[in-house]
């Protein structure tokens, strides 16, 4: 009892990061429970009557001293659009904390986190927690173009940051798996993490599997409830269908049935 909560958070700020990404900082109605990187919240979209279901978003940052958490919202469809139009002082209802987190590295392990698209959100949080254990945190962020890269300075505090862009305007040209750090040093890492578009995660997983490196990915299956009752978000695994919202969203690639 009481492991999960539904609460009205107050919007402290809503900052536009670029064309399609917004950073929402939210104050919790009471003390926040422990939240780990990879976990998410399910957000009620107000002012959009015909939208009935909540929308899941990864926790980007937690500040326990001020009882706030942040989300990065990328505009995809109607729900995310309405969410980014929210004003300071507004209340929004969150179900939290949901899902299982990434495996935090052990002391001094070398880790590589790879993100692309809206999937970058949990990586900062992961880097921050990992930094407490190890100085060997590398991150490769992939995007279409230089202006798609967001919150860069934040990442730099906790990791050695590398970029790729499809148009070559920042960092290495191409996809994340084309980056020299990924191509040449993958074997050197103890743990590799990926989140972002399916194709990207599969590309990362394929290389990690071939190299025999521990690899976790964070899935974004469609969800109705987010807390394990509807069985809509399932992913086939070696141990049968699992719920992405409760058994995941983070999975070890060896548990998945991806054809890679």
């Amino acid at each position: 009892m009481g492991k999960k909560a539904v609460g009205d958070f107050t919007v402290i700020s809503n900052r536009k990061l670029n064309q399609s990404n917004f950073l929402l900082k939210l104050a919790a109605p009471g003390p926040l429970p422990d939240i780990s990187p990879g976990q998410f919240v399910n957000v009620d979209i107000k002012n959009a009557k015909e939208i009935f279901l909540r929308r899941p978003f990864s926790v980007f940052e937690v500040d326990y001293s001020n009882n706030t958490l942040s989300l990065i919202v990328k505009i995809l469809g109607r729900g995310s659009k309405v969410l980014t139009e929210i004003n300071e002082g507004d209340k929004i209802s969150l179900i939290y904390p949901l899902g299982k987190s990434f495996t935090i590295p052990s002391a001094n392990e070398k880790i590589l986190a790879v993100g692309g698209g809206s999937g970058v959100a949990p990586l900062l949080f992961l880097a921050k927690e990992s930094k407490l254990k190890t100085d060997n945190v590398d991150i490769i962020l992939g995007a279409r173009s230089a202006e798609d890269h967001i919150q860069v300075d934040e990442y730099k505090k906790f990791a050695n940051l590398h970029f790729t862009t499809e148009d070559g305007t920042l960092g290495a040209k191409g996809f994340v798996t084309h980056h020299p750090v990924f191509r040449e040093k993958l074997n050197a890492y103890d743990k590799v993490y990926a989140c972002g578009p399916d194709a990207m995660m599969k590309a990362v997983a394929k290389e990690a599997k071939a190299a025999g490196v521990f690899c976790e990915v964070s899935l974004e299956n469609l969800m109705a409830c987010g807390f394990g009752v509807c069985l809509c978000c399932i992913e086939p695994t070696q141990h049968g269908n699992k719920c992405v919202c409760t058994d995941g969203p983070v999975f070890n690639i060896n548990d998945l049935k991806w054809q890679i």
């Binding site: 009892m1 999960k4 015909e50 009935f52 279901l53 009752v229 509807c230 069985l231 809509c232 399932i234």
Partner: protein, 286 residues
Amino acid sequence: MLASGTCGFAEEINDFYDVSQVGGIFLKGTTLRNRDGNEYPRMAETASGMLNAVGLQNKGVDYFIETTYPKIKDYNTPLIVNVNGSTVEEYIELTEKINELDKIPAIELNISCPNVKEGGMAFGITCPGAEAVTREVRRVYDKTLIVKLSPNVTDVSEIAKAVEGQGADSVSLVNTFLGMAIDSATRKPLLSTITGGLSGPAIKPIALRMVWQVAQAVKIPVIGIGGIINTADAIEFLLAGASAVQVGTGLFKDPFIPLEIIEGMKKYLEEHRLNNITDLIGGLQM
């Protein structure tokens, strides 16, 4: 009460609050053997509701009895098993197993699941089918037998009368409406099964009408289900003749809705100077 398939096996809701506060929990549909359910995607959001095509994914009744039941049996609220089969024999065998469990005071016979190819709704859409399952299950089951009706029929009150005639103690309705969603951009169906079951506020007016019709047709208590998300919704169902209600898809929005409805009903009674919730049942003013 909490509707089957929307509250898991009660533990998931107990993660939010003490479930002894709700009127009863209808557990996720259970079958004789393990079922993996349908392929992903199983969900599509629609205006004020959603389509699902879960397809009764569950680990089978033996797993339920050995693993789930011991963990939940001491919750201080009625736990009702939602019983599913593809043949009458399966319904009987499953019921007999559930009958052995002390802390399960009732079963809800699901003859209305639109998401499985065999059985399920096939029994619920004809009077002879509904009669046959109800009759045979009644023979082996002395505790409370609730039959869950499909709205995907021409006249739901005919089916309700048929199962009442075979000894059902109560009927619950509605299950989901058969529906479909297409992505105009990709020209593909949004569900792996093409069609699925529609639920949520979108179905409330039709569910309410059906509950009203059935309440007039039968003498046994009717449990109202369909798009209930607040106190007013629940009261409307009682006025239409339901003796109790279940919240389903509303739980996805907010698992606390049932508690809010219970509080809201108490207030409603005070405001309308009524002593008992039963004073509302079938109290539609014409």
